[in-house]
Amino acid sequence: MKPLICFYQEDQYIYSDNYVLHSCKPDESVHDFLSSIENNFKKELKVVQINFEYSHQDLFKDKKELYPAAKAAVFVLNQHEVLPAKSLVAKIPSTITTLNLQFNTLETEQDFIKKVEKIKTDIANGRLYQVNLTAPMVSDSIYTGEKIFKNFFEKFSGQYKALLPLTEYDLISFSPELFLKKQNKKLKTQPIKGSIAPTTDAGKKLIDNPKEDAELSMIVDLLRNDLNHVEKESSAKVTAHRELMKLGYIEHTYSEIEIETDKTLPEILQSTLPGGSISGCPKAESLHVIAELEVYKRQAYTGTIGWWKDNNFSLNICIRSFIKYKNQLYYHAGCGIVYDSDAHKEWDEFLLKAGSLSLKNTK
């Protein structure tokens, strides 16, 4: 079987080539699918993947799909190893070479800028406070998911990497963002907002920027809300705010919010998906704006990937991720648009998030 890899603790990864893949059926809700997995495989270690659209399928039903994909999938692992990064990379048989990839954005700079301006008008009119606007890129590719994972492993730093061999496509994630982690009673989230190109004093510039401050602060309030929605019996607490994350190709600010709860994964996801940092604020209205403006369904991108066992789990936000479908390789990027966004700077940020990928800049 094709190898499956998922981040685990610190610098440790789950590796498995003996698993059973369960996919959510088109007419089944993701919540029901996850609840039935929980009932049947509670004690087993599982790796979960859920698309962005989650329970909002109707809102996005007329959008174009880039590849065929189940709404959600769960790998139940029969056997697995836990490996540090070094042994993991050595275990993947493919060699490290320069990959011949040339990405085209599936949105022109002109269209992207028009959409940013439209969102800014909506914000000024009181319709909402922030929207995460995204678009895909595509390259021809002859490479396997394993080869892409191994070759970009060092270039895209980030704690929440994964390689999932799904039925129709391979999902390769280099996410730096933790969506939700539950350990016993403690449930935490670490939203990322605020980005800057890595120059000498980038960190200070990012921290001192009031636009970046507001962008993250409102997502912190939104995620406090989502955690307070999960559990009425306790209160969400902000345990870190505007910490710096240096990834080499980009720098970010992130915060951390925690709450105590006994709720299960399917219950928790009902109050928290799609993630606040990749939708917008207020979330309900931002999903309508995304459905109006984005051309393609996001599918796996900005959904979530992670491991799940008993009532403990750790899930990423599936960003900085590749989708290998037939001879195509997709990669998406996006930006949080707020009232004082500069449309051209947002386009630069969109390109910056492609890291070291070779991009043809389509005007």
């Binding site: 914000i123 939104l222 809300n225 209160s235 604020c281 207020p282 707020v338 009232y339």
Partner: protein, 185 residues
């Protein structure tokens, strides 16, 4: 005390619920689309939310149908709905402030404890005109002098343009104590 928290499809409603917990034995969260005339509560809280008061005529109708014994507390859009319901004017405000902080200038002598304290702001509209025979301006923002805190002189209505439930607001417990004291007068 029982509170009815009307949610205008907002992403801060459950923070408001969490903030209100210490003073309410029961809080029922209800979406604005599901309002019915026969709902009862000691306190009705109007959540923040997207769009403008004109988009919520059924909420205006609902608060006007309440018994005079019910108190209404409006947050952000909630305060704008109160002003709109009393024939005041709500207008666009530039630059929009979302996830930003301002200091309060408190005019009301009984609430001076909050003078100069930071509060969180999320709005691109503001209450530009209202009758001073109806509303007392308890506080304004120190930087741009916008109405931040209003109290109705005849009805049991209070409204805040800022967000007392936000983690950016400096003294959420003091705001809550003031609300509680007002409700018990």
């Amino acid at each position: 005390m029982k509170a009815l928290l009307i949610d205008h499809d907002d992403s801060f409603t459950y923070n408001l619920q969490d903030w209100l917990k210490p003073i309410c034995e029961e809080i029922e969260v209800i979406n604005h689309r599901d309002l019915q005339k026969n709902l009862h509560a000691h306190l009705v809280v109007l959540s923040p939310g997207p769009k403008s008061p004109q988009d919520y005529p059924h909420v205006v109708e609902f608060i006007q149908s309440l018994s005079p014994r019910s108190a209404v507390y409006g947050v952000c859009l909630g305060m704008q709905i109160l002003v709109h319901a009393a024939q005041g004017t709500v207008s666009p405000y530039a630059p929009a402030l979302h996830g930003k902080k301002s200091k309060l200038i408190v005019n009301a002598p009984e609430y001076k404890i909050l003078d100069n304290s930071f509060v969180a702001r999320y709005h691109s509209l503001y209450c530009s005109k209202y009758d001073s025979d109806q509303f007392e301006t308890l506080a304004t923002s120190a930087d741009d002098k916008i109405p931040m805190w209003l109290r109705h002189k005849q009805k049991r209505w209070m409204g805040v343009q800022f967000h007392p439930e936000s983690f950016l607001t400096a003294q959420p417990e003091t705001h809550l104590k003031i609300l509680n004291d007002w409700l018990r007068t």
